[in-house]
C-alpha cells in the first residue's frame, strides 16, 4: 500500500444520512425505501473500517442500537437466545453462556480489544463473514442458527448454511437483519472449548482457531458425539466432519484422539500468509490444537463429574 493511498483516506465517512429506528419494522421500511443503498450497523466496528478503506460505500446508515429488547441473553426451553445487540463484552461475562456454551464466551473474549468488545456485537461478527471470526467458529460448532427478518418475513437459518464465502453470508445488511442467534444449551455430559493461536493476546488476528464441542460417557470411557470447527483454514469457518464421525461412539483412547486430530487437520487448507504464518505450519498447528481441544473437553467433563 503506498503512502498516497493512505493520505487519500477521507476524514469523514461520507454517508448521506444516519437513521436510528426504534423498531424492527421501521428498520425494514428504511432498507426497502433505499433499495440496497442503506446498510444496517450495530456496533459499526467492521463497517466503519470497511468504509474508511472504501470497500463499502452505503449512502445511508441504519443504526439499530436504539431498538429495544434486542440486547438480552436468555434461555428458553433448552435454547440460548442471544439478541442482535448483545456485545462481545456482554457475552464474555454472561454466566449463562459460560455455563452452557463456554466456547462462545471464550471466543468472544478474544475479539479485538476491550474497546472493540464494548461496541461490537456477536451478530455483527457473524454477518461480516470472516472465516477466522472468533464467535463464528464456536457458534458453528455449537450448532447455532440465526433468525433472519426481511420484508418477506422471518426465517431461521442454521449456521452451516449461513456462510457463503469470505465476507459473504446469507445476509448482507442491506435487505434484512438478524434479530437473534439460537444456540442449543449444553446438557450434562457435554462441554466445549475454544482455542486460539495468535502472535499477541490482544488486537491480533488468529493464526488459527479451533472449537471442540464434546459429549462423552466417562463411566463407559466412550465418546458420544462431537463437533469440531476450524478457521481461518478455508473460505468459510470449517467443520471437520470426518473427525466428528470417527469420534462418534469411539473409545476414549490416545490413539482415537490423535487420529481424530489428524483427520480434522486434513480439512484445513490454510494459505501461506505473512500475517498468519505458512500453510504447513498452520496445518501442523491445526492438528495440535484439535488434539488439545479434545483433551481439554475431557478434563472439563471430568471436573464437572468429579
Amino acid at each position: 500500500m503506498t503512502h498516497n493511498t493512505v493520505l487519500n483516506w477521507p476524514q469523514h465517512l461520507h454517508w448521506e444520512d444516519y437513521y436510528q429506528p426504534l423498531g424492527i419494522s421501521e428498520a425494514l421500511r428504511l432498507l426497502d425505501e433505499f433499495k440496497g443503498d442503506a446498510k444496517i450497523i450495530a456496533g459499526g466496528t467492521d463497517v466503519l473500517v470497511q468504509m474508511r478503506r472504501r470497500q463499502l460505500s452505503p449512502r445511508v446508515i441504519v443504526d439499530v442500537t436504539r431498538i429495544p429488547g434486542l440486547d438480552q441473553i436468555r434461555e428458553e426451553q433448552g435454547t440460548i437466545k442471544v439478541g442482535a445487540l448483545v456485545t462481545h463484552s456482554q457475552t464474555e461475562q454472561s454466566l449463562l453462556i459460560r455455563e452452557k456454551a463456554p466456547a462462545l464466551s471464550e471466543g468472544a473474549s478474544h475479539v479485538g480489544s476491550p474497546q472493540i468488545r464494548n461496541l461490537g456485537t456477536i451478530v455483527g461478527n457473524l454477518v461480516s463473514g470472516q472465516p477466522g471470526a472468533d464467535t463464528a467458529i464456536p457458534l458453528l460448532a455449537l450448532g447455532a442458527a440465526v433468525k433472519l427478518v426481511t420484508a418477506n418475513g422471518e426465517r431461521t437459518i442454521p449456521l452451516n448454511e449461513f456462510f457463503v464465502d469470505i465476507g459473504k453470508t446469507a445476509i448482507d445488511g442491506t435487505h434484512g437483519l438478524i434479530t437473534e442467534i439460537l444456540i442449543p444449551a449444553q446438557k450434562r455430559g457435554e462441554t466445549s472449548v475454544y482455542l486460539r493461536l495468535a502472535s499477541r493476546r490482544a488486537l491480533a488476528l488468529p493464526i488459527l482457531a479451533v472449537c471442540v464441542v464434546l459429549s462423552a460417557d466417562l463411566m463407559k470411557k466412550r465418546f458420544r458425539h462431537s463437533s469440531i470447527t476450524l478457521g481461518p483454514v478455508a473460505r468459510t469457518p470449517t467443520k471437520a466432519v470426518e473427525a466428528e464421525e470417527l469420534l462418534k461412539g469411539a473409545p476414549i483412547e490416545e490413539k482415537t484422539i490423535r487420529e481424530a486430530a489428524r483427520k480434522a487437520a486434513q480439512v484445513s487448507d490454510p494459505r501461506d500468509s505473512l500475517l498468519r504464518g505458512c500453510s504447513d505450519y498452520r496445518k501442523a498447528m491445526a492438528e495440535n490444537l484439535v488434539e488439545r481441544g479434545i483433551r481439554q473437553c475431557l478434563e472439563r467433563l471430568e471436573g464437572i463429574h468429579g
Binding site: L48, V49, R52, N118
Partner: protein, 159 residues
C-alpha cells in the same frame, strides 16, 4: 451536507452542537469542542489512543459515529482532573515515569480509570487486560502497569 443537532454530556457539561452527521465522535471532540487530549491515531479502532468512556464503557471514539453518542455521557482525559487537582492516576503516571512520548497516555489513563471504577483492587493480570486495547509503541508497559497499581493503592487509602 445538511447538519444535524446533537446533544450529549461531556465531562459533566451538557453540550449542544450542530454536526455533520457522517462525522466520528473523535473529530467532533477535537475539532468542535477543542478537547485535543483525545488523540487520533489509526482511525480503525486498533491503537486505542482515541479511547473515551461513553455511558460507562470504554470505546474507541474513532469508530463511534457522532450521532450514536446522542443523549450519551462522555468522559475524556480532560475530565479526569477535578477542580484543578490531577486525578491520582495522572499523578501516578508522572511520578512513575509512565509517560514517554505521551501519545498513548490519554487512552491508557481512561482505560485505567474505567478499570478502577469497576474493580478498585485489580490484579496485575487484570490491569494488563484492561489496557490491552491501547498500544504504547514506546513499549513502556511496565511503568504504566506500576503507575496504575500505585494509583489503586492511593485511591484505596483515601476511600
Amino acid at each position: 451536507m445538511a447538519k444535524k443537532k446533537v446533544e450529549f454530556v461531556v465531562n459533566g457539561q451538557q453540550v449542544s452542537l450542530e454536526v455533520r452527521q457522517d462525522e466520528r465522535l473523535v473529530d467532533v471532540l477535537r475539532n468542535q469542542l477543542g478537547l485535543k487530549g483525545t488523540k487520533t491515531g489509526c482511525r480503525e479502532g486498533e491503537c486505542g489512543t482515541c479511547s473515551v468512556i461513553l455511558n460507562g464503557k470504554i470505546v474507541p471514539s474513532c469508530l463511534v459515529p457522532v450521532m450514536k453518542a446522542e443523549g450519551g455521557t462522555i468522559v475524556t482525559v480532560e475530565g479526569l482532573e477535578q477542580e484543578g487537582e490531577l486525578h491520582p492516576l495522572q499523578r501516578s503516571f508522572i511520578e512513575k515515569g509512565a509517560v514517554q512520548c505521551g501519545f498513548c497516555t490519554p487512552g491508557m489513563l481512561l482505560a485505567a480509570k474505567n478499570l478502577l471504577d469497576h474493580n478498585p483492587e485489580p490484579t496485575e493480570g487484570e490491569i494488563r487486560k484492561a489496557i490491552s486495547g491501547v498500544f504504547c509503541r514506546c513499549t513502556g508497559y511496565r511503568k504504566i502497569v506500576q503507575a496504575i497499581q500505585a494509583a489503586a493503592e492511593i485511591m484505596k487509602d483515601s476511600r
